[in-house]
């Protein structure tokens, strides 16, 4: 019997993502990829990241409620990852702040060569 029933399904296959974009902005996919890459490399157990994510989301909701207005999932993910990375000694917040400042100092339009 055919191992892959989809081989014959052709155009009627359901869209793999139900037509949805996972990421609104490129940075969201990068942070997701960084997190998964480090997890797959054994840098942390998934539960460790999960705990940070729960903490970040929980803190946001305690402050802003659960209406969802202003909620940005990947911002919470980024914050969670930063905390985990700091705790694991992968990256200190100060080093990240310094790098952010350096990148912010690039002249306007640096990424849009004429």
């Amino acid at each position: 019997m055919s191992a892959d029933p989809l081989a014959t399904l052709g155009g009627s296959a359901p869209p793999r993502k139900n037509g949805e974009l996972h990421f609104d902005e490129a940075w969201e996919s990068r942070v997701f990829g960084i997190t998964m890459s480090l997890h797959e490399a054994g840098a942390f157990a998934w539960g460790e990241f999960q705990a940070e994510l729960i903490a970040s989301i929980g803190a946001w909701e305690r402050e802003n409620g659960t209406s969802g207005v202003g909620f940005h999932y990947w911002a919470r993910w980024l914050e969670a990852f930063e905390r985990l990375a700091a705790r694991k000694g992968l990256l200190k917040s100060a080093a990240l702040d310094a790098c952010v400042a350096q990148l912010a100092g690039r002249p306007a339009g640096w990424d849009h060569p004429v």
Binding site: P14, E20, S29, R30, W46, Q50, G65, T66, L96, V100
Partner: protein, 215 residues
């Protein structure tokens, strides 16, 4: 809160062009710095990040879950094994079974019982079978409300169930992920397994829709 399938496409963000709001720019810069530093230190490699993102964007999606369901509808023995030990049964289909540390439990809809899945604390989801969760699944309103008032939330998705149907809400966690086995649609008795796959949407696998022909 619009819960229809179009909801996620309604965001009017002006993505890469035009003036960005300062918070969006701040986050993008922070993420860029994070990647630059971790790459520079040899902690991550850009190729790995690229590969993982591509895998989740192009390969892993609800099609995997749909194939599991179609097999369960077609093969009573497989269904029994799936409900008893989803991980082992899914491996029979040579589909990814996800992280061994977080078992998947498949919960079956029956004429009197409808199941729906949530992660109240964050965004736990059987990603190996369904891909990445949709935006609404991660949103505070869905997470807060589906436990409290599941019937109302399902109605907002366009799913009005009889008052006599028992609703079971399953809260996913870092230790356990749930996927719904929807009821096989009436009229699909003669359908092949491949045809059945096309009747199973992501939303049906989460429990906010029924299986059936795409609307």
């Amino acid at each position: 809160m619009a819960h229809d399938r179009d909801h996620d496409d309604e965001h009017g963000h002006d993505h890469a062009h035009g003036p960005r709001d300062p918070e969006a720019a701040r986050l993008a810069l922070r993420a860029e710095a994070l990647e630059a530093l971790l790459v520079e230190r040899g902690v991550v490699r850009r190729e790995n990040i690229d590969a993982i993102v591509a895998r989740y964007e192009n390969e892993i999606g609800p099609l995997n879950g749909a194939r599991v369901v179609a097999r369960a509808w077609s093969d009573a023995g497989f269904k029994r094994r799936l409900l008893a030990d989803a991980r082992t049964a899914i491996a029979e289909l040579a589909l990814p079974t996800g992280d061994a540390a977080t078992p998947i439990v498949v919960v079956e809809n029956t004429p009197g019982v409808h199941n729906v899945v949530v992660c109240t604390l964050c965004s736990c989801y059987p990603s190996s079978l369904l891909g990445l969760p949709p935006r609404w699944y991660k949103s505070p309103p869905y997470r807060a409300r589906v436990v409290r008032e599941p019937r109302a939330v399902l109605r907002e998705f366009g799913l009005a169930l009889p008052e006599t149907t028992e609703l079971r809400v399953w809260d996913s966690s870092a230790e356990l992920r749930y996927m719904v086995l929807p009821e096989r649609p009436a009229g699909s008795e003669g359908s092949s397994e491949a045809e059945l796959v096309a009747l199973v949407s992501r939303d049906a696998l989460i429990g906010v829709a029924l299986a059936g022909p795409p609307r």
